[in-house]
Symmetry: C2
Subunit: 456 residues, 2 copies
């Protein structure tokens, strides 16, 4: 059987697929500066915390139950649980878990949550292959590079059309990362990207249902299987991304090819990865932070007559749900986020529990929060005005919310977030050990050391 047809010059697009494949197959191990290396570890830590934290959520338990119908071999860990499943199912389930709380990382320029598809595929495959930690970190950086660059290439048109860009670019990131971990050559990696290209995952219509977190999980599995297929010699187009009827032109009407390859190997998109202090869509964060600030000024919920937010238009487009009925829906409600911030001074997963979302006091405060979209405010900013029952009027202005590129979460805050997510699931002591292992992941002799701690 011959390989797939050679690159047909059916349009003028540059050979993006080949360029990315060559980069993934040949870029040197740790071929980046210390800041990139550190960000890779922060990304891994944040992802692992989110996945373990959600280990017993209904979405994860249901996905596991569906996979168990297939009687999977116990090849890889389901994070935060005792069950073991085949590596494809593990990639799928851990990918779902990591995005279930909407607490995972964000590539701010594209709103991609890059770790979910990539790390979920890599940890399962790495456990199976007994890969060293160094190989895992390398594959994570390179996989995330591929998905975020393809995201840059098609954003915003692709997202505006309705694609959940995390899954639709995540298949490439997972395929690239797994191809690297398997040691595929340039052509093999091109085939892996090609097989993945035919299986983009994710509609924005699913926001508010369990199928949203399914997207990174399904993307992880697609990418993993694409790399395994390519290793066997399975063929695809060699121009699957840029061809006239290839991925970019099918899923988007506008794209800038240069975003895929300019400065490849010099700057790294993982440097622009960010982490959330609150367990919901990042566009709500400035508003929550403003309400936490209000509370810090001594304002109690009963003091408030009316809160008005002036926000970026995306806030209402993505999170304008005024009457959320459960926790999942509340993640898409800037009004609930504000109520949580003012009542509890935080908005972690606990503040998005169904029981909290349906509390009369929360509902009542939520209804006193109003929001107006304005054009002259940034996505990471908010102007809040509070009218109090005593007649006072207070202003809180956030120029850059914590977790924005201007104000990234500190290592200490990230560690605290990790502990708050993981300790309730695997215990305080085990969580601390895991945190240490994860901070030094590149030096682990193999990935299993990480997984062993993460799966009891």
């Amino acid at each position: 059987m011959a390989h797939a047809p050679a690159a047909a010059a059916d349009n003028d697009a540059p050979a993006v697929t080949q360029a990315l494949a060559r980069f993934v197959a040949t870029h040197p191990s740790r071929g980046w500066n210390d800041a990139v290396e550190a960000e890779a570890h922060r990304t891994l830590l944040n992802w692992l915390g989110c996945a373990i934290g959600a280990a017993h959520h209904d979405a994860v338990s249901m996905a596991l139950a569906a996979c168990q119908v297939l009687q999977p071999a116990p090849q890889a860990a389901v994070l935060g649980r005792r069950e073991r499943v085949d590596i494809g199912s593990a990639a799928f389930i851990n990918g779902i878990a990591s995005h279930t709380f909407d607490f995972d990382d964000t590539h701010l320029r594209t709103i991609i949550h890059p770790a979910g598809p990539v790390a979920s595929a890599l940890l399962s495959l790495g456990e199976h292959l007994k890969s060293p930690g160094r190989a895992l970190i390398d594959a994570l950086v390179l996989g995330i590079e591929v998905s975020c660059r393809l995201g840059n290439m098609v954003y915003p048109d692709h997202y505006d059309r309705g694609w959940h860009i995390t899954g639709s670019t995540g298949v490439f990131g997972a395929a690239a990362g797994c191809a690297r971990l398997l040691g595929l050559d340039e052509i093999g990696t091109q085939m892996a990207l090609g097989i993945a290209a035919s299986q983009p995952v994710g509609l924005r219509e699913q926001f508010g249902s369990m199928t949203k977190p399914l997207h990174p999980g399904a993307a992880a599995r697609v990418g993993l299987m694409a790399a395994l297929l390519a290793r066997e010699g399975y063929t695809s187009s060699l121009r699957s991304i840029e061809a006239r009827r290839g991925w970019a032109q099918v899923v988007s009407t506008r794209f800038d090819w240069r975003e895929a390859t300019d400065g490849l190997g010099e700057r790294f998109e993982i440097s622009a990865n960010s982490y959330k202090p609150y367990a919901c869509g990042i566009v709500i964060h400035p508003s929550i932070e403003a309400c936490v600030g209000l509370r810090a000024q001594g304002v109690a919920p009963s003091d408030v007559q009316r809160i008005e937010l002036r926000v970026h238009p995306l806030v209402l487009e993505l999170t304008g749900k005024s009457e959320p009925e459960d926790g999942l829906q509340a993640k898409f409600s800037v009004f609930h986020g504000c109520a949580a911030g003012l009542i509890f001074g935080r908005a972690g997963e606990a503040e998005f529990a169904d029981a909290v979302v349906t509390q009369p006091a929360v509902i009542e405060l939520r209804r006193r929060v109003h929001a107006t979209a304005v054009d002259d405010i940034a996505e990471d900013a908010v102007n809040l005005t509070a009218w109090l029952v005593d007649g006072r009027q207070l202003q809180v202005r956030i120029d850059h919310a914590v977790g924005s590129s201007a104000r990234p979460m500190s290592d200490e805050a990230l560690d605290a977030k990790f502990m708050s997510l993981v300790a309730p699931v695997i215990g305080e002591r085990c969580s601390k050990s895991l945190l240490r292992q994860c901070r030094g992941a590149a030096d682990l002799s193999h990935v299993e050391e990480l997984v062993a701690l993460a799966s009891n």
Copy 2:
């Protein structure tokens, strides 16, 4: 955990997802006339023949090898082979096999190959559930109804954009069929459709590589898993097809909602299913038939100076490859099809073997075939003019090729096609028994009787 948000009236689209789900969940068993029932059996027979025929093709062996990395449980048959794998892998691999020869069924209006995704998912699940033959046939008719109606809804824009419509609608057909086989209710079926909606499969750029047949295989697996997830209570949008950022509007810019639901349960799309006498894209068939006719008039390859075809524009768009380098590429070459027809009098899988495609005599004749796209000729027609070396000029005109809706393949021709595909793999006697079982599939006490014969 509450269900997903109720239908949000975010656009004026009718509740297509709900209507299809209700239909699948509640339409009576064998709620159609004898012609539909017969066509369902012809569809099953043709699909089974194609899948068994390709059982030992490289694409199938490679896909199987990749799945075996996951150490699958021996739950279901790989058709035409001894290996057994989990039901998800079986759906995937059998779906690939059934489309590998490009010899499977075609819903002519949309160029969907409907059986691949649907039957591949159903046979694996049916074997596992020990479903009766009646339930299999019911689910096959209903699953195919869903994928073809969604195809009608978005064709041709969706296909023109570059989607391989077999996989992008096949996820719904497989999900619907499996939901029926699992006995899901209306809401559960709606969720299964929703989970599938987020995972459309297939780029036309892959035509000519092994990733083309991967599309129905991946769609089969997506649909099967979507139904299993929905059974566990996994949620999705309830308007995943018609919502503003749902499937239809993300994968197409034009759609006619009425196609999805008008006359639902009264007319059945499987009635319009057709089967190929030649092992390649259906648009080439009139040209091959014309060359077979030329040969029947006593014309030998050495007699021919030049052949000119006047064809529908789609023929050159889809199968205009003038210098195919191997069997897979030759499936997209009307020129090779004509050469095979004239030299061998047929164009089965053997005539698309790499060794045939690269024969100097075949290459040489192929180069004497020329084609012009004209607007006033139907897709199932051709006008052929042959200039012979002795100075004669012959005309062959095909108004409706065999396999078109005007001239369907007879039962006898379909049986002969089945035997020619299956006997070389599982032997003459076993093939005959399987053919008998398949012709009476609705009466089988359970699906395993079919599978047992098909997997040795």
